[in-house]
Structure formats: structure tokens, C-alpha cells
């Protein structure tokens, strides 16, 4: 896997073509930023009625929201288009991938990039910039490292969810609605303190769909909060483990899906 030049060649063409129409690109980015802002507004509205949500104040909740959004939009930029797999199947693009001497998933991921989602990324970064100084964080190297690592690990976890959802579409005909429930539902669940959910639901968005690992749990570490029972803050240190597990599941599913498509066994 040493040589990434083949993937880079397609990707750089793709980026150039997206930047070619500057005004349209700027509008796309602004639109994506608008969606992020509107979602944050819905969090902000809650705080006009309450002073605390799931044990966190506004700054804490804003951090969870920003980390989740940043992680999700980073994943969306890089792998978000994999949910178009049914289109790739119908148009024969997947067959074209199979006829090239490269990994099919690698080609699928590098076949496109959603630069306009940078708008939503920017919203996440902006909220972080405002909320971090107000959250009462005990700053040190560890905290600084966490701030950088949380969205990156979150992006890796969300990317795995995207790939797993795409893999499911090898079996589901027009199953995008079904898989979107997990992808976007997961992103939505990750944007709130998981402590607001009932215990079974909290367990589900922690251990089944590892959404809590993308923002809430590591944010507790950053804030020095203990976290609720069953999902304590120290679980946040296991976010990288959750990412690895999520990718093992996603890749296993992907390989099985591809085998289903080419017809090895069932």
C-alpha cells in the first residue's frame, strides 16, 4: 500500500473540477455551513429554557456538538459519497473498479471528495473556538492533545459507519433510507450529551453504534466530569479502540458485501 499515486491522480482531478466554478463552490460551502448553524441553533434554543443539559452547561454541550459535527463533516468530506453505492452499482462504475488493479473500496473512497462540506467543518471549528475558553478546562499538554485528537478519532469512527452503511446496500435494494437512519441518526445522537438518553438507548449509542465515543465521552475527559453510570468518562480513553473495532466491523461487512455482489457463496 506504499504507493498512493494512482488514488491521488483521480482525487486531484476531482478537487480541481470542484474548485473550477468558484462562485458555485462558495455557495455550496455557505449552504453546508448554514445547515451546521441551524443545527446548533436547535441546541441553543434548548438553553433558553434550561441551564443544564445532561449534566453539562451550554459551553460543555457546545463542545460536544462541535466535536461531533467536526468529526462527522471530516468523515463526510472524505467518504460521505460511499452512500451513493447503489448508483455506482447501477451505472456499472463498480464493475469498472473491479477491472482496475486497485482495491475497490480504495477506488470508491477516492473517486470523489465533498469539499463543500468544509462549510460545516468551519462551523464546528468556530463553535470550538468560542466554547473552549468558556468551558473551564484545566489546560495542559494532555488537554491540547485531546482537542486535536477528539475530532480526528471521531472522523475515523464516522467514516467506519459510512462504510458499514454502504456495505449493507449490497444486499438492500434502495436501502439508503434505512442506512441513513444509522448514519445521520448516529451523527445526531453524537451531537448531544449521551447522558440525556435513557440507559438502554445510551448503551446502544455507545456500544452498538459508537456515537458517544466521537464526542461526548472524550469531552467529559476534557472537562474533568465523571460521567453517568454505565458509561463513565474513562471510557473516553477507549475511543481509539472503538474506532478500530468499528473499522473491523465495517471492513468485514464491506468484504462480505463485495463477495455477495461478485457471487462467491451467498
Amino acid at each position: 500500500m506504499a504507493d498512493l499515486a494512482p488514488y491521488r491522480a483521480v482525487l486531484s482531478s476531482r478537487i480541481r473540477s470542484q474548485l473550477a466554478y468558484r462562485r458555485s463552490f462558495a455557495l455550496d460551502v455557505a449552504g453546508s455551513a448554514g445547515v451546521g448553524l441551524l443545527e446548533f441553533l436547535s441546541v441553543y434554543v434548548i438553553f433558553t429554557n434550561v441551564t443544564e443539559l445532561g449534566g453539562l452547561d451550554l459551553a460543555g454541550v457546545a463542545l460536544v456538538f462541535a466535536f461531533a459535527n467536526l468529526g462527522f463533516s471530516l468523515a463526510d468530506i472524505v467518504v460521505g459519497h460511499v452512500d451513493a453505492l447503489p448508483t455506482y452499482l447501477r451505472s456499472g462504475t463498480l464493475d469498472a473498479f473491479l477491472l482496475r488493479p486497485l482495491s475497490v473500496l480504495g477506488q470508491l473512497v477516492t473517486s470523489d471528495v465533498q469539499l463543500r462540506r468544509l462549510g460545516r467543518c468551519a462551523v464546528g471549528v468556530a463553535i470550538l473556538a468560542v466554547a473552549l475558553p468558556q468551558a473551564g478546562i484545566d489546560w495542559g499538554w494532555g488537554a491540547a492533545l485531546l482537542v486535536v485528537a477528539i475530532p480526528l478519532v471521531g472522523a475515523v469512527i464516522f467514516a467506519a459507519v459510512f462504510v458499514a452503511a454502504a456495505a449493507a446496500q449490497f444486499w438492500l435494494v434502495d436501502g439508503a433510507e434505512f442506512t441513513n437512519a444509522f448514519v445521520y441518526g448516529g451523527s445526531n445522537a453524537a451531537s448531544y450529551p449521551t447522558s440525556v438518553f435513557t440507559t438502554p438507548l445510551r448503551a446502544a449509542v455507545t456500544f452498538v453504534l459508537p456515537a458517544a465515543f466521537t464526542a461526548y465521552l472524550p469531552t467529559l475527559l476534557l472537562l474533568g466530569e465523571p460521567g453517568p453510570t454505565w458509561t463513565p468518562a474513562w471510557l473516553g480513553w477507549f475511543a481509539p479502540v472503538a474506532a478500530v473495532v468499528a473499522w473491523v466491523v465495517a471492513l468485514t461487512g464491506w468484504k462480505a458485501g463485495l463477495r455477495h455482489y461478485t457471487g462467491t457463496g451467498s
Partner: protein
Amino acid sequence: MTEPIIDVVGLSRDFTVRAPAGRLRRTSRTVRAVRDLTFSVPEGAAVGYIGANGAGKSTTIKMLTGILVPTAGTARTCGKEPHRQRRELAREIGVVFGQRTQLWWDLPLHESFRALAAIHRLPSDRAAQRQVELVDRLDLGEFLDTPVRQLSLGQRIRGEIAAALLHSPRLLVLDEPTIGLDVLSKERLRGFLVEERAAHGTSLLLTTHDMDDVQRLTERILVVDHGQMAYDGTLAGLVDRVGAQRVVVVDFVGDADGSGSAGVPDLRGIPGTELVSVEADGLRQRLAFAPGLTTAAEVIAASSTRATVRDVAIEEPDIEDVVRRLYLSQ
């Protein structure tokens, strides 16, 4: 090299088709797309793979190129097991599906070539040299900067073929390459393929509905019908076997006043032919003949002794007809 470029033994492929039956139940039914195919193609050969729609041509090609896994039997392409060694095989074959693009839809051709050169890890001097050769011989120069989606069908197919040949594969697989092309484009494409094979010794596997493609490009044909091999041999042998008839269409010069006073030319009784139809008050007549019994030239010569011939055309038997006759003859 003595190893065949394609070696297929007992190749079969089933598909399971599910259909809803009632509210919750679904029935599933197995469709046998390809049944027990066995054939071998030596390196450097050009083979036409023909059959009606749904006969199993594309399924076979997908198994030979590693896209689909056989249900039973084995296929070896370039000495490799297509599905297991998909990536290694991809470096040695070039594939074009006429009705589906393998280029990047919204990228211009030259960017596709650049990406493909990187994908096949071609040294930049070799890639550049090969690209110049292909651009020149397929006449791609004027639309190299146009996104693929804006190309005409003929331009796109030429681009696809150039893309498939950029890495100088040992085997070129073309699935319906001339479908939808006009006569001139077809002829230019055939000319290119003949030259390309002469220059590089590339083996060719071609599926087509066009008898002219088969005649111009291949020295051997395989006919598949309902997933089974129906014929393996030369085109001439096939025509002999099914007695496929060619048809000479003769147009006569009409009278100057259009009164038809000269009478209708009578083409009955020319040796080895059968009068199939008389149209336009006898000014257009069709004579069918079996290639073994007489030749087109003799038929035309005999016709012109009976009236003044204005124009002649020769209709070749179409694939569906040949396959149907083959089926009936068994």
C-alpha cells in the same frame, strides 16, 4: 508462449432471481445464465463471441475478467484465475463495455489517461509515448480536453478503447464496441483494431451483433445460445452449416416515362438463387443465395443480363437469424 490466453472448462453461472409472492413471501428461482462452457483461445487469436440478447455473453465476459465468480467450472485468463487474481489480471487485460463507461464521467479524457497511467504504474515516458500513439491513431486530439459526458457516442467509444489499451494489455475484451455507431465510425474503429493487433499482437475477444465486425476482426467465432455453446469454428463454416443466406438487392433503371412499358424484369431461375421479393413494381428485387452455391458477383452479373441495373446492395444474415437457424439445425 504456449499457454492459452483464455482457457475455460465447464464454466457455469447461476443467478437467483427473487420476486415477491403475496404479502410476506418471496419466491426465488434460479436462472442459469451460462451452462457448462468449455473453450480455449490461443495467445494472439481474435475470437468473436456472438449470441442473441440474454444468451450469456456479458456474464461470460464478467467471469473471464474477474467481476463475477463462476458457480461451477474454471476460467483462466492470461494464465490467472480471474476472481482470485483480479488485480494482477487487470494489468494484463483491457476491457470495454460499449454501453457503460469506464472513464471518469466528468473528467476530460487527458485526465483519465493521466489517472490510468498512474493506476497501471506506467513509467511516464512510456505512458506519454503510448498516449501520443493512441491519440494519433484514434484521432482523439480535438476532444482531449472535453469532459467525457459531453462526448458523442463515437468519440466516447474511441476514448474508452484508448483507455483500455493505454497499458498495452495482452488481451483486449470488447463487449458490443460498435453498438449505436454509424457506418463510418464502425469502419474506422475496425480499421484501428486491425492495425493495433497487427502492431502489438494483442489477443481479442469481441462480442457483437454486427456480422461485419465478426468478418473484419475475427478469425473464429463462438456462438452461445441460452448459456450453452452452440458453435465453435469459422464464420464460413457457420454459414455452411446453417445455410445462412446472403441477399442481393438489385435496383433496376425504370422507364423514362414511368409507364413500365418495358415490362417487369424477371429474375427467376438464376442458378443458385431464390427470388425473395419484388418491390416498387419490379424495380427492386431481392435474391437470396447460399454462399456455397454461387457468389454475389455471379448473381449480379446474371441479373444485369436481364435488365439495366442501377444499384446493388448485399444484405448479410443477421446474428439472431443465424443463431435461430443453428438452433433449428441441431
